[in-house]
Symmetry: C2
């Protein structure tokens, strides 16, 4: 497979970097091709604004989606879009900051996933642009695992990641794999070693994994999903 | 009350700006004091990194939380922290981008909500730093309301906002009010007029509103929330 790693951590000595390096090593060792977008090293521009376009259709009233349709985006955005087009799978490696991804990665979604390139009604979810591609989130947390359970203090981590997994990735068609969660790596050398070997084991056969079974567009009626089906939040809640 | 509006939209002619201006007008008309952080106008730095500190305890290994404890943050961060300390209530005004806030606002949380100023174990949730303050999210969407219902295509908008409402705001103690949702304002002049008058009506008596009743720390046992209680995700699901 062709695998793109989107990596968002400011410190090269971090465990996030170790996970990213381990992924590169294992995947290349298994004859996959790997590209990495190291957002901090690239000084990725996080903030979506007028400056993302080389020319504006309406400079007096900035409507981002309208401008995106003109496809006059800056080179940094186009380069990322080419990497996404190239990839069969994208791995997102980041620390959980405020129960979401760091702003630099949020800004990657805001700026790179333009319309109609990444989505356009009704080509969303299983009908979306990237329905042949897979996506895998690998995330570290500060808090320990019990805090992120269904009835834990912070709530179910899979549901916390719904806006990214379902909202950004599945929305654009991606087949979303079960995330890899690395709880509290900062507090134990032993945990970090174990995590790296678990990560290695998982990645060795990553191409055989089945995605989370979110509902398809055709399953929704005019009033939404039929009452006898679990919704995608509930499905995510069981992947943890 | 002293009210801080955190506003994140790149276009002054946007409906988000109209909502922000309406809030200022109505709140000041009702003798509240208002401050506004217009993140785009301020060219707010979204990306948390080493440059957020005037001095580093360990320049060779950047550990953000450890550095935050030294309290040598740059002036832009300290200025926002002073505004938060000043405020009795914070209103967050933003468009829903990729089922979350724009990166510039995510970066406001990443950089401003430092430890131990905004939280430190076990002073979180109802025990958190800002437990005397209120927070109110006002968010616009591209898609229509039915897509954001419990069984709609996108899922329940309140649950989609869990990472911000529960994860960032309640985590630091804020009393979180029911959000205001403005669905698809771009598509109808009439809707925008109606929304502005609904917003005005709500804000006239905002100081009397009760917050969402998330669970308190003391309600959690060693294995989490007792099985006979609805968890905070479920509580949020009913606020939509």
């Amino acid at each position: 497979m062709k695998i793109l790693i989107i990596y968002a951590h400011p410190e090269p000595k971090s465990f996030n970097n170790a996970l990213k390096e381990k992924a590169k090593e294992v995947l290349e060792g298994n004859k996959h091709e790997v590209q990495i977008s190291d957002l901090y090293a690239m000084k990725w521009k996080a903030v979506a604004d007028k400056a993302d376009f080389t020319e504006l259709k309406d400079p007096s009233f900035f409507k981002m989606q309208m401008e995106q349709k003109e496809e006059k985006m800056t080179e940094d955005i186009k380069a990322e879009q080419k990497k996404v087009e190239w990839a069969d799978m994208i791995i997102f490696q980041f620390p959980l900051w405020w129960f979401s991804c760091p702003a630099i990665l949020k800004g990657w979604f805001d700026r790179v996933f333009s319309t109609p390139w990444s989505y356009s009604w009704p080509k969303i979810y299983d009908q979306g642009s990237f329905s042949k591609k897979k996506a895998l989130i690998s995330v570290t947390t500060g808090g320990p695992q019990p805090m992120y359970q269904e009835r834990g203090l912070n709530g179910n981590l899979s549901k916390i990641l719904y806006p990214i997994m379902h909202g950004a990735l599945y929305f654009c068609g991606f087949q979303v794999l079960q995330p890899s969660y690395w709880f509290s790596p900062a507090h134990s050398d032993e945990a970090r070693k174990m995590y790296l070997s678990q990560w290695e084991e998982r990645l060795k056969n990553i191409e055989k994994e089945e995605p989370i079974k979110f509902h398809k567009m055709e399953e929704y009626g005019q009033t939404g999903l039929p009452e006898d089906k679990e919704n995608d939040f509930e499905i995510l809640g069981k992947t943890n």
